[in-house]
Symmetry: C2
Subunit: 192 residues, 2 copies
Amino acid sequence: MKPPYHHGALAPALLAAAEALLERDGITGLTLRAAARVAGVSHAAPTHHFGDLTGLLSELAAVGYRRFREHLLTAMAQSGPDDPAPLVAMGAAYVEFARAHPNLFLLMFRGDRLDHERPALRDAAQQAFAALRAAVADASEQPRPDLDGLANAMAAWSLVHGFAVLMIDGRLPREVPMDALLSAVLARLALR
Amino acid sequence: MKPPYHHGALAPALLAAAEALLERDGITGLTLRAAARVAGVSHAAPTHHFGDLTGLLSELAAVGYRRFREHLLTAMAQSGPDDPAPLVAMGAAYVEFARAHPNLFLLMFRGDRLDHERPALRDAAQQAFAALRAAVADASEQPRPDLDGLANAMAAWSLVHGFAVLMIDGRLPREVPMDALLSAVLARLALR
DNA sequence: CTCATAATCTAGACGATGCAAAGATATAGC
DNA sequence: GCTATATCTTTGCATCGTCTAGATTATGAG
């Protein structure tokens, strides 16, 4: 009843372990050796699958971006085509994801430890951002790729992203319930 | 010509060394031992002044907040009382600081490694945020501490902070010069 | 001025980490 | 069946944060 020498599916098992560690102990608790321990393999096993720690973090961030994209698309789909402000629904979903998975969210957006040239991460991030761009383009009557169009998109993204980051870092005022504050802030999301 | 056993002013020397390391090598290059090396003392010397790594990082973040506040106030003062949008000037100064000291900025807002209960950090951050709040209150005709007033403030803060963070993480579109994009985004900063 | 006490700094050790090299074991292709 | 390759382990090394004990200097009470 001893474990087999070969794990069989180590890479996904390590990613799952890494995600669990990230959620429980934050980014500082997510180490190569800890992930290996959780997965029940030696501490050098991850190297062969991810190269180094940056590799593991990048692949995990890619998983996060894929999940992020799905979350955003689901929210958009549920909001209906005739909803007054589908962009608000996406903004709410954006912040909701950040609140549900704060450590994963920070990992995804913290360029520090990530290798953005990794194909998996590059593609996953690009597709998630494409979903965001599409939502902004939909909200604007005719999407303009000029300065004003970009400024509209970046203003919307900055507003939502800034709120999410400040929320995670505990900078939100506590005099008012979070949901009410979020709704009121998202109401300022209208494009111009 | 040997160095004296007692440094004389180790704490500020360590802070200066820490800041230099942070700017040059990022947060990962800022270690207790590296700071001690740069300051020319043994690796255990910082302990007596800052307790642990969190202590050093927190004190450095406090320095950052003090400098941040000064930077914001200077920009506000230079913009003049009759400027069309002093809030825009402050937003520009906010992003300017983030661009000039990206690693310090990230350290200040990354709750991870900081001890926010430290008096120095607590006070410095509070005063910096007070300057921000004052600017928003000035921009609004009559400052309202209700939900809409808070939402105005948080929307402005989120917009500027989100832009700064996305800029540092390299998420800004490159089809357009940064300054033009920033100006166009800050133009969306008007309160409602 | 003296000298005991406190503050400051050094030296060494411990466990943990990331990474590299070398060996063991199982899988897969021929 | 046999060999090449992929997968995993073991071992080793440098670095890190932190702890403990000891050395050195500043300080201040008498």
